[in-house]
Symmetry: D2
Subunit: 373 residues, 4 copies
């Protein structure tokens, strides 16, 4: 069995998630290209050492450049804060490594564009960590749409809501500063957009409105500071073929924890699912006896690949971390030269981020804005 | 027991619905002002006679002007097609009758404005048939918002979807002609707007996008004619106090039958409900033990007035027609001079329809448009 | 239009419910046999008078025998406490009236048997108020089973749960005394059994276990008295053809308000529905593409008769009181000699109550007990 | 970091599941006792070799006795068919190894008793693979019950349903032979019973009824053979403190995939959850404003340990295989001498299996049967 050397930069949640994915992918899929955990980098060298042991990496370093220089490393997982993605991914690509970088690519569109250019020039595999598209639910919905089950898609709505910014009395933090970006738009919008690339396409024109559910937040000295980002974004979408859509994102939505509610309307039926109940989806087909037409709730089972690689019995449920294992498997397929590997590469990633920036511009201008997609 | 003489114009579904409401309201609420079914008018005099017997009206007529001239009639229910509302309501008011008119008021805003002026001048009670606001679910949500249960409302989303226009092979009909109006916007948008008047307020600015899920429909001769109205409308909303919102309406949404899904986000919690399961609502309160926080599904019961007037046991369910009985009761309260009767009068009705027309204009202009509200 | 004279005994909730049904049935169904509200009886003559006005009855009386003697009365609605059913129903039948009696027939099986004998001898229509079977949901499920949609039914589970006895600190009341009957078994079990007559058959053998979730309750003097009835009943069922089943009933089930959860398993599919969401049912068909098999949630619409008589649009919802209107309609069909009127007559009613008593006996004996059905 | 040597017998689904658990547990929990994958045994030596590579084991063998003799193995995972459990577990314990054995312990109660005796005598850790109790949902429900949230538990219902035996035309197989055991009872009942040990206790008396939804199945020659086992089991339960319960199990329940629906009724509230939506549970508390009481749906999040060890954000979902990782962690805690490790040892496992056999006996005898628990 051939192996492939893995380097991991970052040991936060996403670092752990990549580590688990690299660890579990061979046992789950019976890979022919088995990951070997070679090198873990983390700015705190002691932490790097501890985590290397926990995660099962052979060696560690406090300097990510040492990892990139490590000749045994073939693929670099970049899981650091967004501001570091560009430098690390570009350096890795230039050193001839493949890259698996968490999304978004970068905070500035220009940096994302540089990443795309470097990837193009390198000839290496460079993909982004869009794990939601790896859900077998999503893959099945894609297949149903592609197979014409709901006819022509004419309308799509995606809501993404969480509540980590809902408490108005939580202290002012960096995510409330204008310097951090737009707010809900850059935290969330890339996910629904990544799903749209699978279900239909990216929108060609957008018109966004952003609002501030929390006007100000307390500072340490007891005074309050006005919130500068927007925790809510509402976006009208127009798609190339004439379909319309709505994307809403709210990171101050009490009670919503990991909600990504997707509704896809077609000329022959409707599909919807919610990531909070990610092991099922709902399908309405406009055919058959009207007395028994209704949305059917389909539970994932072995008939929805690659669920079967995890569990042979239906209805037992995959978890969020399993999606990352599937993502690792798709990356390995890409490394093996599989043309239909389901990955979002830097090309598509850049287009997604272009949409986000177009949304922000449309809000500022109060008018329809082309996305370039 | 005092009685009040009822005249009913129209014998379609809404006519039947008014008849059932007038019949059941006294037994349900023990009204002190008991409706007496006096006169039924319907352009087909034979049908008028048959329906008068079925519905229990004392006499009938093929001429609605005869009904308005009937001195025993105190209140006139107008349930004819929208184009007739203005003439009938205005004539009835001018004859000194109270009016209960189905929504929308009129197809042209100018007609609606004339209705409002006539109502003002008449001193009579003139209300519109917005039955969804009569659901005890809606009343309870209103009370929770007013009582501060979810804090300050900062965001609202309402989706209204049905599928009666979803079949692309259904023949071209009058609702597909531009002359019939905008499409989903005037069929549906007044309902969500009526709910917004209870939960928050009408929006002050709107920006709509409308689309055509069905491009053309077959004619009798086998050829196809382009659809001129829009079966889908997506609208961004801004409310006076800074809250944002989204309204979507789709009359070509396969599988959606009577869906009005409302989500109301506040600084201390979230409320949502769906008219398809109208006997329950969901409430999330951001307080208490985090390990047991979740959306609670509250089933209607006698604690949610006026459910108790229908059924003493909880969880047994009201139906759509019951909402009309409640509406009749609120109208009777208004007739009795009750200032807090929960009705939508011609004043508010006009404001609602002003919003709809502003939405259509915003679509044409591609920019934010004030509603006047 | 022919009319039929109605007498109503009792003005509690069920009295009101019958009154509303008699009032609304003609407008709803366009009956050829139109009810005329003739006489209302209630032991309190003043209350009888007030309610007669509210409900729209022509005259009233403090003596139910006067009502039965009234020659204009053709049908007698009996809605008094259970202990009075036998005397009233028998007297009415003997006076040549048709009878619509609330369930259960009587507290003692011997009284129920006398009612059945009298009904047989009278040649009159004598039916019981089993409204749940009138739900279009139930009728549709019946039709699906009869049409073989789920193959041969081999297993059925029905749970009926409410929480009106759940509060252990509520005072000891008559329903806690042994003299009131068995407890949950007689309060609830007749409903699931009435449904079983439509879906499959009554069970031929039963084995019950009853328990007391609340051991004692407070008396007015501050002391506590042991509860003598059983608020919970769990029953194993065997059906004639070999199918098995379980019936559970709990009137101390916190949070359950009007739950009747029915699961019907067949050789080709499964059906389930819950009365708390009575406008929908769920159907799983074991055919077609495995990737899209799932329980479909079917919302009631005009395709599910007689929903269309209430509302032409789907998904708008019937309420509990509407079921009583349907029941009145079925009774009128029976009066018209319609052999397939969907009513539960005294014959079937007696068999249902025989099952309940067999359950109680099986609990006492700790062994399987034949029901006689 | 100390390590512990792992031996795994069996490479079917449960073998893979154990392998993934042993692989992921250190990275997930940051274990101080890190598993070292030493030896994999599988009767087919070639397959053993392949799987050892895929799963990451250092060496492999076609003879499980070689694995037990391996001095580097400290813990033996037994994941072979049930008939082999007793010999393997006993041999491992006698060789001084700790044992993690899949449930049920054995097909005969006497074998299970021998396993229990050997474990007692060995002083080693011997636990069973009851993974459902490891769900944070279950742990949270346990904590709520223990903390008195729903008062005293007085009634419990558990349904376990799948549909792998639902197709009557599937060929007769070994699970249809009497020699394979009772049917649904031994396939399923141990799971609900394992949950009962956490929520309340094992039942002290049981009364079961078993039925055959599929009477016969096709043989290869086209003839049919009568099914000898029972695919459905319905069981009445009595618990030591007076609570009652019902357990139903159906392995021929079309549409049910991994349903374990649990309802727990208490004097102050109700809890329920369904394993098919295992990342949430429902709680009704009988307190507070009646107008807002309802079942709350609580989504798992980091506040429900050990969810936080997998994902820091709430509502993102664990999967079935994650439960096995938690189980491995609890086993490691037991190995570390942690007295409150949440494991089901051979002692409790034997009591669970005693209940199953008592159920079968109660069916045969048609009377209440003590479980010994």
């Amino acid at each position: 069995m051939k192996t492939i050397g893995i380097g991991l930069i970052g040991t936060g949640y996403m670092g752990k998630c990549h580590a688990l994915a690299w660890t579990g992918v061979a046992a789950t899929f019976g890979e022919t290209l088995r990951p070997r955990l070679v090198h873990l980098a983390e700015v705190n060298a002691d932490l790097a050492h501890t985590k290397a042991t926990e995660f099962g990496f052979a060696r560690s370093s406090g300097d990510w450049r040492a990892l990139i220089a490590d000749p045994e490393v073939d693929v670099v997982s970049v899981t650091t804060p967004n501001a570091f993605h560009a430098d690390m991914a570009i350096a890795a690509l230039q050193a001839g490594k493949h890259v698996w970088c968490e999304k978004p690519m970068a905070t500035a569109l220009a940096d994302a564009a540089r990443m795309r250019e470097t990837a193009r020039a390198s000839g290496r595999i460079a993909v982004l960590g869009y794990n939601y598209i790896q859900n077998p639910t999503v893959r099945q919905i894609e297949a149903l749409i592609a197979g014409g089950a709901i006819g022509t898609v004419n309308h799509i709505r995606i809501e993404m809501d969480e509540d980590f910014m809902a408490d108005a009395e939580a202290p002012f933090n960096w995510k409330n500063e204008a310097a951090s970006g737009y707010g809900a738009l850059d935290d969330f919008a890339v996910h629904p957009l990544s799903l749209m690339t699978r279900f239909l396409s990216l929108p060609s024109e957008v018109l966004a409105d952003m609002s501030r559910p929390v006007a100000s937040r307390p500072l340490a000295d007891g005074s309050r500071r006005a919130v500068e980002t927007h925790d809510i974004a509402n976006v009208l979408l127009r798609f190339p073929g004439g379909a319309s859509g709505v994307l809403t994102a709210n990171r101050a939505a009490w009670g919503r924890k990991g909600r990504i509610f997707v509704q896809i309307f077609g000329s022959a039926g409707t599909l919807h699912f919610d990531q909070e109940r990610g092991n099922e989806f709902n399908l309405y087909l406009a055919k058959g006896d009207p007395a028994t037409q209704g949305f059917r709730t389909v539970l994932l089972g072995p008939q929805h690949a690659p669920y079967d690689r995890f569990i042979p019995a239906p209805g037992h449920g995959l978890g969020f971390n399993d999606l990352k294992v599937i993502e690792a498997h798709e990356l390995i397929r890409a490394l093996n030269g599989d043309a239909d590997a389901r990955v979002i590469d830097f090309e598509t990633g850049l287009a997604i981020e272009g949409c986000v920036h177009a949304m922000a511009k449309s809000h500022a201008d109060g008018r329809w804005t082309p996305t370039g997609a």
